[in-house]
Assembly symmetry: C2
Homo-oligomer: 227 residues x 2
């Protein structure tokens, strides 16, 4: 069971009155479950059902869902279609969100070829790289341009999301450049965490660091078994 005291979660700056991040991170999980239940022909779901299916404390489920503005009816629960809709609206998934990606190397190209974010409204409209072999090319129909074009285009196109897939040492510079041209939310896949002003939102998605955690745990499991 996932449990925590919601009151203990630190919040900061601009977003201080907002949903705590752990609650926010559970909403897409509820959404996935609800879509499956809907596809199975169900119309109503209770917090208890969600709690059991996802191993999250029922009080937390109720609290999390209340942030979306939906209140379930006692003893009947939530209408599934309505709940799906309010989570999608709350997560801003229904709007198309245009993004620029900087770094069209291995990981960048990989993410450009992956279309799993499209149903959440993400549209990567251009990629940027310094490598002359890549500039002018296309990956999965997305143009690769020189990094020198990024700022002007981001301003003209009112791009608000930047995805960073450059090597560690270039990440902060790219982030600064993006922020200067009006980008407000950064999804950073480089191995370097970036510093940003308070009004900018960043997710540091370091896959290599996740693997390091897995690697340590595996080592631990293996030595426990050899004892």
């Amino acid at each position: 069971m996932e449990q925590e005291n919601i009151m203990d979660i630190p919040e900061n700056g601009l977003l201080s009155k907002s949903i705590p991040e752990p609650s926010l991170r559970r909403l897409p999980k509820y959404l996935n479950l609800l879509i499956r239940l809907k596809n199975q022909g169900r119309e109503i779901v209770s917090c208890t059902h969600i709690s059991k299916a996802l191993q999250v404390d029922p009080t937390l489920v109720r609290k999390d869902l209340s942030f979306t503005g939906m209140k379930g009816k006692p003893k009947t629960g939530f209408p599934i279609t309505g709940l799906i809709n309010s989570i999608e609206v709350f997560l801003n998934l229904k709007n198309i969100k245009e993004a620029f990606m900087v770094g069209a190397g291995n990981l960048g190209s990989a993410l450009l070829r992956y279309d799993g974010f499209a149903r959440y409204g993400l549209r990567i409209v251009a990629a940027f790289d310094n490598n002359p072999d890549k500039i002018g090319g296309e990956i999965n129909g997305i143009k690769v341009l020189g990094v020198d074009k990024l700022q002007n285009l981001a301003r003209r196109m009112h791009i608000h999301i930047g995805i960073i897939t450059v090597p560690a040492l270039a990440a902060q510079e790219m982030a600064d450049m993006m922020i200067e041209s009006g980008i407000k939310a950064i999804w950073n896949f480089s191995s370097m965490e970036i510093s940003v002003p308070d009004h900018i939102f960043v997710i540091n998605e370091n896959l290599a660091n996740s693997f390091a955690v897995l690697s340590h745990k595996l080592g631990q499991i293996q030595s426990a078994q050899n004892e």
Copy 2:
């Protein structure tokens, strides 16, 4: 500043005497910083230096590093090469860790083409898929085999890491199959969280859910600016 009370972090099962996960997740960040400092020619580093560079409370830095068995000298600090070595050993990064990947679709192929995990000792030795168009092929030099071959091969090759990149509805079945054939640690990229027995370690790496968080925050920032 990243701050937390280490004593509050819940731990469970087999790994109960181990390092708390937030500390574990910071170690690769220290490692990246230390490698940069070493490349700049530095030989000694203090907790205060690490603390300032990474915006982590200095008490936490000291605590985190103590898990690796390294103790710094008061007023001088840590020898960088020694500290790099003990973090790498602690994270089990120096051993080659062979892995199987199930799912050679968009995300799977993308990850097979990405070589950023190699320096942490990850070697994906085969991929598995149900799609006859993919079976028998190769991606980045890695063979794609039928899913029916997975269990036998995992046992024979003593594979301990499974990477899941199949669609949500197939994820649990693939995880069960992997665990049955001796896999001990699973890196799950599907959009469905999987349930595993206590002795198996899982990282659920749901990129679409991360994007949902980014999407919500962006919506919030934009409406704050329109008010």
